[in-house]
Symmetry: C2
Subunit: 213 residues, 2 copies
């Protein structure tokens, strides 16, 4: 059975994969994301940036796998970016900033760009690579003041890019999406499945369960 190695520290990505039947090994890359983005130049398309960062994250962890006996694996690299009016949204970090973000984004939409890279490693060597991106539009609701203040008080939106989550309290305040919901949580399952096919792996080979009932 082929082992999936997730090149990401994100608990949300891990949770999505587990719910979808895959128990990955986690290896976190230490790449300098800003440096790589800078090298692409200021005019680089965001779609290009997330894809190159996903590739860099996957590539960086491959050399360390052999020491752990992980010589026959698929490595998945991930990068996400949330844009409102073409502007990158980071983690707010404070209640005040999160409140201002929500004042600006309530009733409007954002675009979540997801880059993924899948590397097929056999006998310790990268034999095939596939990468691509997907885009999902997220339409935010207009929370009441009471609900928004309660949401900010939980701390949840402060630590996540775009000041919302889809799979937790923030789900009350996302009116609808156009695209892949798993990509909004952190890892785009249909995109990863397609990339796996391109490197010659069926996603079902990675499933740890033959009976989920």
């Amino acid at each position: 059975m082929t082992q999936l190695v997730l090149a990401s520290a994100s608990p949300a990505r891990l949770a999505v994969l587990r719910a979808a039947g895959v128990l990955p090994v986690v290896r976190v890359s230490g790449i300098d994301e800003d440096k790589i983005a800078d090298e692409l130049g200021p005019g680089a398309a965001p779609e290009k940036v997330v894809t190159v960062l996903a590739e860099a994250k996957a590539a960086e962890i491959v050399p360390g796998l052999a020491a752990d006996g992980l010589t026959d694996v698929v490595v998945v690299g991930c990068d996400s970016m949330l844009l409102i009016d073409g502007e990158l949204q980071g983690k707010p970090g404070s209640v005040d900033i999160a409140r201002r973000r929500w004042a600006a984004m309530a009733g409007r939409s954002a675009t979540l760009l997801t880059g993924h890279c899948v590397m097929r490693v056999i006998e310790g060597n990268i034999v095939r690579v596939a990468s691509d991106h997907s885009a999902t539009v997220v339409h935010f609701a207009n929370p009441s003041t009471a609900d928004l203040e309660a949401y900010l008080a939980t701390g949840e939106p402060l630590q996540v890019a775009g000041a919302f989550t889809l799979d937790s309290l923030g789900g009350w305040f996302v009116e609808k999406i156009e695209g892949d919901p798993s990509s909004v949580i952190g890892i785009g399952l249909p995109l990863v499945r397609t990339l796996l096919e391109r490197v010659g792996v069926s996603v079902s080979e990675l499933w740890r369960t033959q009976s989920v009932l």
Copy 2:
């Protein structure tokens, strides 16, 4: 703190609510769904059917709440229907039927209709009622034969309407959606929030956590 009573036996609905900060009391209604749908007549719009069934489920459990001391609550009734080409999709029940379903739906789309009814109960009496429906379009991928057979072998798609889930193995095979992802899993959070507002309750009053981090 107001208590939410979920008038549904669905573990998926319960899981969505829990992830979104609400720990409901579960009470399952024993209404005769076919009889109610029949009374609406053969020409009844599916949107109307899911809404009326949600109302009937909520109404049916209210009289029994007082005996359990549940006199100040909001009751949420739910009904869902998946349509492909206007045709209602039930649970396949067998691998053969699920395989035929997927042969027909791969690469195509379905519409998930969700009806919800929220009843505000104070001192044992229904004081306000709000109900409505939402619609979400689900676009299916084209799984490879190997992946589809592996999926069927897990048993997962046999027991769910439409032969897929969004929040488990089926997530690999849903290309994208247009609408509310929580409604596809079982309960439409933004719709329930709006209905709660219409009966004078803020969703944040129902949250069992003030710190989720």
